[in-house]
Each structure stands twice: as C-alpha cells, then as structure tokens.
C-alpha cells in the first residue's frame, strides 16, 4: 500500500518532468514468441515462422564411433558440410543428398605436413578447388591441403616487426578469397585480421577495430591518475572480432561482441561490419535502427543482455544472417540493413540452442552448430520465408511488378510486414499510381519514398487543375481590384453629381 502510493506519486512527478517518456510502454514477450520482427516503434511484432527445422544431425545420425566433442565451426561448399570437431582434433565432411546426410570422410591427418595431425582446430574453410584450410590453433598454424589431403603450405606466425613476437600465434577463424588470399582472426591480436598472400607471405593487418574511449575517460586518465595507477589500468586498446565470413564478392563480414551496451543504440558499437579491401566498414544501414540484433533486453539474469553474434553468414543475395549467442536467435537482414525476421530461442528442443557457435548456409537453407549439444540443425525456409526472399530477388533482377505481387502474398501471411508495403509502394510508383503509393509508404512510415511520391502527386494535381488554380488566384487578386475601381468610379460620379447640383443650386 505504502509503496504503491509512493510509486504513484513518483510516476506523477516523473510525468511532469518527462512529457513523452511515460507514453512509451514496451512489452517483453521473449518467452512465448519464436519468430518476430520490430516495428517502427521498436515494439516486437509476432510473425509467421520464416524457417522450420528440417533435421537435427547428431553424432549417431552420422554413425560416428567417437561422438563429436565441442565442435567449433561449420563450413559449407556445394553440398558438402565440413564440421570442425575441435574436441576430437578432426574435421568431418558430410554430404547432403536430398534430406539424407552421410559422412564422406574423417579428416584427421594431412599427408606430408609437420605435424600431420591437428591440435584443437577451431575453423575450417574450403575453396572452390576443394583445397582445405584449417585453423590449427594449438599447432600455431593455418594449414592448407589439396582435396586429396596432401599438404600444400602452412601460414604461420608472421616474422614481421608489426607482429609482437612475444605472443604465440593462435589462429581462431579464417576465410580465403577467390584469389587465395587468407585472412586470419587470431586470438590476442588486436590489430585486425592477419592477411596472407596466396603464396603464404604475410602482408599486414586489415580492419582493426577503432579504439573506443570517451572524452571523460581521456581527461580522467591524463590529468587525474598517477603514473603508477595508469600502469595498473588497462590501456585503450582495440578489441578483437568474434567471427568472420566472406561473401561472394570478397567482402569480409565480421562480428564484434566487445562493447558497452549504451554504444549499441547510437550505433557506435557496430556489432556487424562489412570490411572492404582496406578494412573500412561499409555496411549499409537504412533501417530505423542499426543492425544490432535485439533492441530491448533485461539487465539482470545471465541469459539477458544485448545480442552477441557468435557467427554470421552471407547468402548469395547479400542477405546476411547473424547467430546470437545470448538468446540463441537468428537475425536476418537484407542488403539495405533492414531486418527481415528474427527467430530462435534457448533450450533443448529442435530449433532451440544451448551454445550457438557457428552458422552457414546452403542455398537459402541455414545450418547452425551447437557446441554443447554437438548437433547441426538444418533449417529450410517456410512459405513465408521463401516469399520474402523471392520478392527481394525479383526486385533486384528488375521484375518490379512481379515483386509487388509476391509482396502482396507476403502481406496475406503477415499484415505487419513493412518491407512488403515499401515494395508494393515502389511498384505502384513505377506505374505512376502516386496516390496509392503514398498510402503504402505511409503505412510503412517510409518518409523518403512518401515524399518522393507526394512530389509527383502534387505536380500531377497542379497540372490537372491549373485552370482552377489560376482562376482562384485571379479571383483573389482581381476581384478586390475591381471592387476598388467600381467604388472609386462611384465616388467620382457622386462627387461630380454633387458638384453639378451645387452649380445648379
């Protein structure tokens, strides 16, 4: 009773100070909702499922004698799935045919390499020719073998002054581009990704995380601490990335999980980055909020906190999907940075994850690796998810009307889908149906497109009604003028008559 009265008073007082603040109420439905999306007001909106679980692959499914132990990474090339079975120091190659998954081979030795076996390998990459790259962490090397597992070369600790020779070289994740350059994410290296040419020579670092500190940090550190204190404190250093992926154009997508929560919403944290050849972040962000995963979270309980992306994968359509470690969720973003859908949860059932570590794609299917369960979950798009992809593809290939029709299908399944409204609006604008396009853009709160449509609509209206507008303006300007003239004439006539009368009298 006492507390509630006090609370009411406090709320009343707060309402006086914060006029709008109290008006926003956010519900948290994480426990019950599997697939959702965020709307314009940052509220989550439940949506139909975009993906469904096709199969979960466990060790018995593959008939493995030694079950997988703490696998760390997945890679997909064609129909083959490569699993980095870290705990058993081996790589599994699994072939998918239809919905059958069969073990092709166990890779645990490389012919001619020194040493030939792996020691806690943490990532695997396979290029177009079938050459296999393995980040062999505790052997301090990235080893490369051809498709018959004959040793080709290894990428070792850079013998260069830019690399701190006191540190051991612990490669964690790697990707290679089409010309054979290798980018390695190494533990303890905070200068960015270690880059090697195809012949194995070290050529520098790219994409270092910019150092983050506030002005207050700097002032405090410079003026208010002694030298001894400063030595005790951590220095301002850039942070390491968590995981990397490469898209078909050779851009590297990196995820970052070291940041302060309040940096997320103002987009200073940049948990997802797209690095170009010189290491600058060129990710496009055209949504109302940056691609940071969940927009709301609770502070306490260990499962809560901002989304932290364990891995990311980029589809051929440049749609990228990040895998959240905090709540076991997938976040799909289109090339413009607009959230397509979010789904997933933590737990033991199919489609739920205990310890997400890696995600890959096979066409539009998603494969997710869970470290604790040692399982690979294969998910295929549902009708809803497929239609979303189809509409985007149709739009990108120039089939605007077709894409609008597909978006209409999407709207039948989810009437809250903003991208669909924008897609239909764009198609309507191409058909010069500006009024209707405006309605669609308005429903999606798309100011830019609405403004564009409105300008055309306004021009059309003015052109159609130019006669009436001119007449209206004329009426406003000319009518008072005429009235004035008539009055003046009348006055003159009256004055003249008066004068005449005077003369007559």
């Amino acid at each position: 009773m006492k507390a509630s009265v006090r609370l009411t008073a406090l709320v009343m007082a707060l309402m006086m100070i914060l006029p709008l603040g109290a008006a926003f109420a956010v519900t948290d439905g994480y426990d019950s909702v599997y697939t959702y999306n965020y709307d314009y007001w940052d509220d989550y909106k439940e949506t139909p499922d975009a993906y469904r679980v096709e199969q979960v692959i466990y060790s018995p499914t593959l008939g493995l004698e030694t079950p997988m132990r703490r696998p760390q990474s997945l890679y997909v090339r064609g129909n083959d799935i490569y699993v980095c079975d870290t705990g058993n120091n081996r790589i599994l190659q699994i072939r998918r045919s239809g919905d059958e998954y069969a073990l092709v081979r166990l890779i645990d030795t490389i012919n001619g390499a020194e040493p030939a076996t792996f020691n806690t390998p943490s990532d695997v990459f396979v290029d177009e020719n079938g050459s296999i790259y393995v980040a062999d962490t505790n052997n301090n090397r990235v080893v490369m073998a051809d498709k018959n597992l004959n040793y080709v070369q290894s990428f070792t600790k850079p013998e260069d002054s830019t690399f701190d020779q006191g540190l051991s070289f612990l490669p964690d994740k790697l990707v290679a581009d089409t010309s054979g350059r290798v980018y390695v994410l190494a533990t303890n290296v905070n200068k960015g990704l270690v880059k090697y040419e195809s012949d194995g020579s070290f050529t520098g670092f790219i994409g270092a995380n910019p150092v983050m500190y506030t002005m207050w940090d700097y002032i405090w550190k410079t003026f208010f601490t002694t030298k001894a204190q400063r030595a005790q404190q951590a220095s301002f250093v850039p942070t390491e990335y968590e995981n990397i992926a490469i898209d078909r154009e050779g851009f590297i997508y990196a995820t970052n999980i070291v940041f302060d929560e309040y940096d997320l919403i103002y987009d200073n944290a940049k948990p997802i980055r797209r690095l170009n050849a010189i290491g600058n972040d060129i990710l496009i962000k055209n949504d109302w909020y940056p691609p940071i995963g969940d927009l709301h979270w609770e502070e306490q309980s260990q499962d809560y906190g901002p989304s932290k992306f364990a891995d990311i994968t980029v589809l051929d359509s440049d749609t990228y999907i990040a895998f959240d470690r905090t709540r076991g969720r997938f976040f799909g973003y289109d090339p413009q940075g607009i959230m397509l859908w979010t789904f997933g949860t933590k737990g033991n059932s199919n489609g739920a994850f205990l310890a997400p570590v890696s995600i890959e794609h096979m066409g539009n299917d998603l494969l997710a690796l869970d470290e604790n369960e040692a399982s690979i979950t294969v998910m295929t798009p549902t009708e809803y998810g497929r239609l979303i992809y189809q509409a985007s593809d149709q739009y990108l290939s120039g089939d605007y009307d077709g894409s609008a029709d597909t978006w209409r299908e999407v709207l039948k399944l989810n009437a809250n889908y903003n991208l669909a409204f924008i897609g239909i609006g764009r198609a309507l604008m191409r058909q010069e149906n500006f009024k209707e396009a405006m309605d669609y853009f308005k429903m999606a709160y798309d100011r830019d497109n609405y403004g564009r449509a409105y300008r055309y609509y306004r021009k059309e209206m003015i052109e159609q009604n130019i006669v009436w507008i001119v007449l209206g303006v004329a009426a406003v300007l000319v009518v008072p003028l005429i009235i004035g003239c008539v009055r003046k004439m009348k006055a003159e006539v009256e004055a003249y008559e008066r004068r005449q009368n005077k003369y007559r009298a």
């Binding site: 009265v5 100011r447 609405y450």
Partner: protein
C-alpha cells in the same frame, strides 16, 4: 429595463474581452511597450489569458494528432490527450508559481495574476504559427522540411523571447536580473516538485499508520 441593463453590461464585457484578445497583436510586435501596458495599464484580461492557454494546449494536441507523419514522430496509439495536457499545464503553472514566489521576495512588481497573464500572452506566436503549420505539413514533402523546421523554430524562439520580455516588464527588472531569475525559477520549480514528492510520501506514511492502527484494533477485538 433591468434586462436591457444586463444586456449592455454583457455587451461591454464581450467588447472588453475581444479587445484584450486583439491586444495580443500589439504585444507580439511591440513586446516592451505591450507587456508594460498589459499589466500596468490593464490592457490585458485574465479571460483572454485563459483563452490563449487553452488554445496552446489545443494546438499541441492537434499538432500531435494531425501533423503529416513525415514531420512528427508521435506514437498516436499511445498518446493520451489528458496526459499530454497535464504534462504541459502542470510545469507551466509550477514555473509561474516558482517565479512568483521568488520575485515577491526580491522586489518584483508583478502579482501572480500578472505573471500568469504575461506568460499566456507570450504563447500567442506559438499558436498563430503552429496551427497553420499543421496544414502546411500536408502540402510539402520530406525534402522541403527545412521550411517547416524554420517556421517551427521561429515560433518557439519568438514565444520564448516574449516570455523573457514579459517577465522583465512585469517585474520591472533589467535584462541581467531577469536572466538570473529565469535560472532561479527553474531551480525553484525543482524545489516545488521535491516538496510535492515529500508531501505525497508523508501522506502515504500517515495513511499507512492509520491503516495499521485500524488493523491492529480489529485484530485485538476479535
């Protein structure tokens, strides 16, 4: 006979009301002279002041509800008109009260009524510019937003300037002293808020005391 008399009296009242309404125009364009005469020569009226305040609240609500979505970010589904009005009216009155309580202590000439009237008359440019702007927002596109924002800021700055001059003339202060008092007024408002909080807190404590007393007695009686 009596009826005619009251009728003319009513007419005179109406005339005085419209006159004081129209006086706002003079205040807007000649603030120094206008605000002086407003209270010292009795050329403004409380009725007109109330009207302006109500119009101001109306403008705010209409703006939230009917401005084109390109220019405003109002979550219409969450907006509560009474809450919005209260969130404007209560700070407005607390600020007036705080200013009055401080200026009476430091030989300000204005009574509470004068301060309230001056503040209400200062709202007039805001009303006169923002009301038509609601219609304008439907006639321009997002690219032309600068016209809209410029007019928005003009209306706000004008009103703030009028409020400042109003305080200066009502209390017969110089500009420097007025600035100090504006700052002091804000702190005063915070103190008033604090007192309100303390009051509520004490009230709830007192209520809780009597409730527990009652419970205790009922418990013993059984």
């Amino acid at each position: 006979m009596n009826a005619v008399k009251t009728n003319t009296a009513r007419n005179e009242k109406w005339q005085r009301y419209t006159e004081t309404l129209r006086y706002a125009k003079h205040v807007m364009f000649h603030p120094f002279d206008g605000f002086w005469d407003l209270s010292h020569e009795g050329r403004g009226s409380l009725a007109a002041a109330h009207t302006f305040l109500v119009m101001f609240l109306l403008t705010w609500v209409l703006k939230l509800m009917y401005t084109n979505f390109q220019f405003i970010n109002a979550p219409v589904q969450y907006i509560n008109i009474y809450e919005q009005c209260a969130s404007l009216l209560i700070p407005f009155l607390i600020l007036c009260l705080s200013n009055w309580s401080l200026s009476t202590l430091f030989d300000g000439k204005g009574r509470f009524k004068d301060i309230y009237m001056a503040m209400c008359y200062a709202l007039v440019p805001y009303i006169l510019i923002q009301l038509p702007l609601i219609a304008v927002s439907h006639m321009i596109s997002f690219d032309e937003a600068s016209y809209y924002t410029v007019l928005m800021s003009i209306s706000t700055i004008w009103s703030l300037f009028l409020a400042f001059v109003g305080l200066m003339q009502v209390h017969d202060y110089g500009p420097g002293k007025t600035i100090i008092f504006v700052i002091a007024t804000i702190f005063g408002a915070l103190v008033i808020l604090f007192l309100i909080l303390v009051f509520f807190s004490l009230l709830s404590d007192a209520a809780a005391y009597f409730i527990s007393l009652y419970r205790e007695i009922v418990f013993r009686l059984h």
